[in-house]
């Protein structure tokens, strides 16, 4: 059985039907990517999974546990964490405190310490800047902090929403390097990206979202060669 199983969710913003009967699943240890045009509903999907939005119908199950009935903050304790679009780190907290906020739901001190070393291993830059206020970090560092902060909650599944947005090309490379490292350390990841080429390189499977519903689902390799995907999402003529 899949680790995360999403079945036929429908989400509305007022009258706007943002997600239509959307289903997907993520297996343990996978990187799955979700690609799609602006406004296709990628962020909406992640927000629904992490409980910020409530679907009008459908189910989200993590290891068989129905999650739609929990509020957002309880979903974190059940092992899903969401790194939102635009990073959303706490600007007036220090890097260290930001990471501690990530571990808000983890009461086990021991575990926190091991997680922290793990984060610092993957993101040595953060270790250098522990005392600095989050708001003063550069864009790339903020993205690292957001990802590190998410790892602190010891999640089973990590959602990344456009980690490369607005980053310089060098940083895009290093962020995806980090994603690979996290995956290597055993993390299951659901990745939303505009940069389809790079996303499909790291992912094992992918979904293509069009106006709120899944248009295509396949392995990353197949998607990379898919005509339509190449044309629309990877910009190849």
């Amino acid at each position: 059985m899949a680790l995360l199983e999403v079945k036929n969710i429908n989400v509305y913003y007022g009258k706007i039907h943002a997600l239509k009967d959307l289903s997907l699943n993520v297996d343990k240890g996978e990187i799955v990517t979700l690609i799609g045009a602006n406004g296709a509903g990628k962020s909406t999907t992640l927000k629904t999974l992490s409980g910020i939005l409530k679907p009008r119908s459908g189910s989200v199950q993590l290891e068989g546990d129905e999650l739609t009935r929990y509020p957002a903050h309880q979903i974190v304790t059940r092992g899903m964490i969401h790194v939102p679009e635009g990073r959303r780190i706490f600007g007036r907290l220090t890097v260290q405190e930001n990471l501690e906020m990530g571990a808000f739901t983890v009461k086990n001190e021991q575990l926190n310490r091991t997680n922290l070393t793990k984060v610092f291993d993957i993101f040595p830059r953060l270790k250098e800047r522990r005392k600095q206020l989050g708001g003063t970090l550069s864009g790339g560092e903020q993205q690292m902090l957001a990802m590190g902060r998410a790892m602190m909650s010891n999640p089973k599944v990590l959602f990344l929403d456009e980690p490369s947005m607005g980053l310089a090309p060098v940083l895009v490379d290093s962020i995806f390097e980090n994603v690979r490292q996290m995956h290597a350390s055993g993390m299951t990841i659901l990745l939303v990206e505009q940069n389809a080429r790079i996303a499909l390189q790291v992912a094992s499977r992918g979904y293509v979202l069009q106006t709120g519903s899944i248009a295509l689902a396949d392995t990353a390799a197949n998607l990379q060669t898919n005509e339509m995907v190449r044309k629309v999402y990877m910009g190849e003529a």
Binding site: G51, P71, H73, I81, P84, F90, E97, E100, M101, F104
Partner: protein, 357 residues
């Protein structure tokens, strides 16, 4: 190339000139008044010392109430207009306990225990009111535009005020005297200091430091800070927003309840409108210090207390103005405007994040 004068003319606007002029005029007025007063030598150093102590005692009460405003402002970005009624409800209710102790002579035999109980009762009631207030009146409006919770708060303020008036009556009630606080301690050379003032200043400082540490050091405090920055991100970290906001109101309520008892110990009278003026003053203090900022609230409160106590004597006496103490609030507000002219976000306030363009 444009001439120097043209450059200057293009850049300095009339408003700058007017603003500087206003600021300058006020400053001159204040400084001149102070010099004249000091030259007249009307007050002895002991009396100046007394002014300071009175101001600090009053100011610490403002500061405690201001904490409630600032905390709530931090998490909800709203003026909790009803906080003044939170401040009123506790001590007004605890009066009946104090009166009972007084009637049954318990107050004489166990003053400290009685005081603690009065504090507990007052803080409990204030906390409860603050908590319910948030649950009933503010929670459903989490995402409403800014002015709407303000109106609800004003409505809640009226409701609470007149509810308590209905329950306990229009008249005021006078707290009994705690003998341990009456009298003064002599320091040296005729310098004396009232016991109650000392107690108020210390108690308030204690509560404030405790609150500050709570917000800075504890897990819940961190949750409060993160919620005040970004609610959605905080909830993604597993923070229960509703609970955290409730906690904020509870802390603010407890501080207001404690401030209320201190107020009642100094000024004795409690009644249904007792919160209105201190509430406005405390909010002013919070703004003066930079709203949303806890040390700012403390600083603002103390400063406002000092201004009210010293201001009229220091700034106005020299001009021989009739009844200067009538203008003490005017002075306080003038200084507030003056501070905001030069620091539009209060003394310790950060520049309201000029939203990154």
């Amino acid at each position: 190339m444009p001439t120097k004068f043209q450059r200057w003319k293009e850049r300095i606007t009339a408003t700058d000139i007017v603003m500087w002029f206003i600021g300058f005029a006020l400053l001159v007025f204040i400084i001149l008044g102070s010099i004249l007063t000091l030259r007249a030598g009307r007050y002895t150093p002991v009396q100046w010392f007394d002014f300071v102590i009175y101001g600090l005692a009053q100011g610490s009460i403002y500061a405690l109430v201001a904490m409630g405003y600032t905390l709530v402002y931090g998490v909800l970005r709203m003026i909790n207009f009803a906080h003044s009624e939170v401040f009123m409800s506790g001590p007004f209710t605890a009066y009946y306990v104090a009166a009972y102790f007084y009637r049954s002579s318990l107050l004489e035999s166990h003053p400290v225990i009685c005081l603690i109980i009065v504090f507990i009762v007052s803080m409990t009631i204030s906390t409860l009111i603050a908590f319910l207030l948030e649950r009933i009146a503010y929670r459903p409006l989490r995402n409403a535009p800014r002015l709407i919770p303000l109106i609800t708060a004003i409505g809640a303020s009226f409701t609470l005020m007149y509810l308590f008036r209905g329950l306990y009556g229009t008249g005021f009630q006078a707290y009994p005297v705690w003998e341990i606080f009456s009298g003064k301690w002599a320091l040296f050379k005729g310098l004396e200091i009232g016991k109650i003032q000392v107690f108020v200043i210390f108690a308030a400082a204690l509560v404030m430091v405790a609150l500050y540490l709570f917000i800075q050091r504890t897990r819940i405090g961190k949750a409060v800070r993160s919620v005040s920055e970004d609610k959605e991100a905080a909830s993604l970290m597993g923070v229960d927003i509703d609970k955290t906001i409730s906690v904020t109101f509870i802390i603010g309520g407890a501080a207001a309840g404690a401030a209320g008892v201190l107020y009642a110990l100094v000024f004795k009278q409690v009644f249904f409108m007792m919160g209105f003026i201190p509430g406005i003053k405390a909010f002013t203090a919070a703004v003066l210090g930079g709203i949303g900022n806890i040390p700012g609230a403390m600083l603002g409160g103390l400063l406002l207390g000092l201004l009210e106590s010293i201001g009229p004597a220091l700034f106005l006496d020299g001009f021989n103005i009739a009844a200067p103490y009538q203008l003490k609030d005017a002075i306080a507000f003038l200084v507030l405007v003056l501070v905001l002219i030069f620091r539009p976000t209060g003394l310790l306030g950060e520049r309201l994040a000029v939203k990154k363009a």
